[in-house]
């Protein structure tokens, strides 16, 4: 009766905490006028491949139906939403603002913390809007969302996929060499980058900063696309400053996200004490055209479990009861109905239980009041504090036999 690797059950108190985070994220999405959608967990393989390219399909849970149609569990939500918008929402007035909070699936050979096979993503897509206003909207919304859940010191690194292309062109790399160098930049593998014998490349891959760093990159970049991207980052930093986010937003020229569909603005959000990013996103203008709908788009997503890990590490993971119960009622449907009508959460106890058993039950569930009705008399018991112990194994393992 074991679970497969990389997935987990959520017990009532754990799920309650997760739902709370999801509600907070949903509230932020709503305030920014994003509407939630849902798509199937199963997609046709060709749709996923069209969105993510061949390389990322390694990460898929893939299978066939009985007619040998190749199917896959969705590994992220942007491709399904691109499919949805380019089919059934083609006539919707642009831009379209959509949000989702949904499980996605990735086939990791070695699942680990922050790399689970089933994870929950909360994110948005802003489709049909080009330019810096849309880019800024996604970034500032992500900052607000992390603020909302209590990670007010989360930092955000920003970049633009066109800048790295400008730098590679500027140092005279193209073709396979440029592709290889780009991969090393993404990994920030300075050792491998030094082998290209272009010092500017190594400098670039370790440079983070603000307006000054952008100025330095302007000296290397030549392509009009990369220069425009640098200008846009400059403006973005100013706009972040005006919102009081100046210290939390930094340019990192080596920030390149895994999925290959990004074409422009990129960002990632993180907190200092966690080793992996909490959220990220960017512009993917080439994705919807792959589905025959020629519109630009930008979006971001957060890993809900990663947010929970960050909060738990900070002791903000309040261990709460799954369900607050106000009163334990025994012996009377009428009394219970009256309590519910008064707005209380009522747990119904067996009428055969004695006072001690009722008090035990109330303590075990943290219920402050016990009301007992016997033969027309109604009385209330006082509930004392509860003492916890370690959980006992259901069926202890035989370690000798292992």
């Amino acid at each position: 009766m074991r679970l497969p690797a990389g997935v987990r059950d959520w017990l009532p108190h754990e799920l309650a905490r997760k739902r709370e985070i999801e509600q907070q994220m949903r509230a932020v999405f709503g305030r920014w006028a994003y509407e939630e959608v849902q798509t199937p967990i199963i997609e046709r393989f060709d749709v996923i491949e069209r969105g993510l390219g061949e390389e990322t399909t390694d990460l898929l849970f893939q299978f066939n139906d009985r007619r040998s149609t190749s199917l896959a569990l969705r590994p992220e939500m942007t491709t399904p939403i691109a499919r949805l918008v380019s089919t059934r929402m083609r006539e919707a007035p642009l831009p379209v603002r959509l949000a989702y909070i949904a499980p996605v699936f990735r086939y990791y050979e070695q699942p680990q913390e922050g790399r689970m096979r089933e994870l929950t993503q909360a994110g948005v897509e802003l489709i049909g809007a080009a330019g810096i206003d849309a880019d800024a909207e996604t970034l500032f919304m992500a900052i607000e969302a992390l603020d909302e859940i209590g990670l007010r010191d989360a930092c955000f690194d920003v970049n633009d996929a066109r800048i790295v292309d400008g730098i590679l062109d500027g140092v005279g790399l193209d073709g396979d060499a440029a592709r290889e160098a780009k991969e090393y930049i993404k990994q920030r593998n300075l050792v491998a980058l030094r082998k290209f014998e272009r010092p500017a490349l190594v400098q670039f891959a370790q440079r983070r900063g603000h307006h000054g760093a952008i100025g330095i990159a302007r000296n290397v970049c030549r392509t009009p696309e990369s220069l425009a991207a640098l200008d846009a980052l400059d403006v973005l930093l100013e706009r972040a400053d005006a919102l009081g986010y100046g210290a939390r937003v930094t340019v990192d020229f080596a920030l390149l996200r895994d999925l290959e569909y990004y074409t422009g603005f990129l960002f990632e959000g993180y907190v200092a004490e966690l080793g992996f990013p909490l959220c990220g996103g960017g512009r993917y203008d080439s994705l919807l055209p792959r589905f025959g709908f020629d519109v630009p788009a930008v979006g971001w997503t957060a890993g809900v479990e990663r947010l929970l890990i960050a909060l738990e590490r900070r002791g903000k993971h309040v261990r709460r009861r799954a369900h607050r119960v106000d009163v334990l009622v025994a012996g009377s449907d009428v009394v219970a109905a009256r309590e519910r009508a008064a707005g209380n959460v009522v747990r119904f106890a067996g009428s055969e239980l004695g006072d001690d058993a009722l008090l035990d039950e109330a303590r075990a569930h943290g219920i402050p009041r016990v009301v007992i009705a016997v033969d027309g008399t109604v009385r209330e018991l006082r509930v004392g504090p509860r003492v916890d112990g370690l959980p006992v194994p259901r069926t202890p393992s035989n370690w000798d036999a292992r």
């Binding site: 920030r188 300075l190 491998a192 993180y270 200092a272 080793g275």
Partner: protein, 220 residues
């Protein structure tokens, strides 16, 4: 060495550095001392030390360094490239420190003449501690192989017929020579690397780039 290390790395800009015990330790410690960090000559049985300037040092089994860095329990660390191949952890490699040179090789018995092109057995067996690297090397050549994971003296295995080949690290070649083994092919050369957690690179940017500059400024 007074306060215990923080659970998730050191606060502020003080760094937590993961160091490998064993063969790389002496050079790694010397290089960090040259970079101004007060690293002890000998570790003894200590697991961790906090220096006067607030740097926390973790003394780890070399193969554990990448995990401590990937999960952010250490901000950065020093580890052999061979360990990075084997562990495949998501860490950023900032500098080749030059010391700890060794080669990962495929080796066999001299009398089998595999090094001179003698045909490999159909049911080929290879013993190694470096299963991930070995798997990749054989897969790249489409060679079917039975990999046998060992933890001790791998060079014994071809001598007693457990394996036809071994994949192992060679520093001077003395061990191979002593057992009449020869290199069939060199897979790659390894040296010590300065690695960093990708998020911590950003979160402690000033401290990490300053340390990187001091580590690479020192002549090897």
């Amino acid at each position: 060495m007074s306060r215990p290390p923080q659970r998730d790395g050191s606060p502020g800009d003080a760094l937590t550095i993961a160091l490998p015990k064993g063969a790389l330790y002496h050079d790694a410690a010397a290089r960090l001392r040259a970079a101004g960090i007060d690293v002890p000559e000998h570790v003894g049985r200590k697991l961790t030390v906090t220096t006067q300037d607030g740097t926390t040092l973790l003394f780890l089994r070399p193969s554990d360094v990448p995990a401590y860095v990937e999960f952010g329990s250490a901000d950065c660390g020093i580890v052999g490239k061979d360990t990075l191949w084997e562990t495949d952890r998501n860490v950023a490699e900032l500098a080749d420190l030059g010391f700890g040179y060794c080669r990962l090789v495929v080796a066999g018995r001299r009398i089998d003449r595999y090094h001179e092109g003698a045909p490999l057995p159909t049911f080929l067996r290879c013993a190694t501690k470096f299963t991930r690297s070995a798997e990749t090397w054989f897969a790249e050549r489409d060679l079917p192989v039975e990999l046998i994971e060992l933890h001790g003296s791998v060079e014994l295995s071809p001598l007693v017929g457990l394996a036809d080949l071994i994949v192992d690290l060679v520093a001077t070649g003395t061990t191979l020579r002593e057992h009449d083994l020869v290199v069939v092919e060199e897979i790659a050369a390894s040296t010590a690397r300065f690695v960093v957690n990708p998020v911590r690179f950003r979160a402690k940017y000033d401290a990490i780039t300053a340390l990187l500059d001091r580590l690479t400024a020192v002549p090897a």
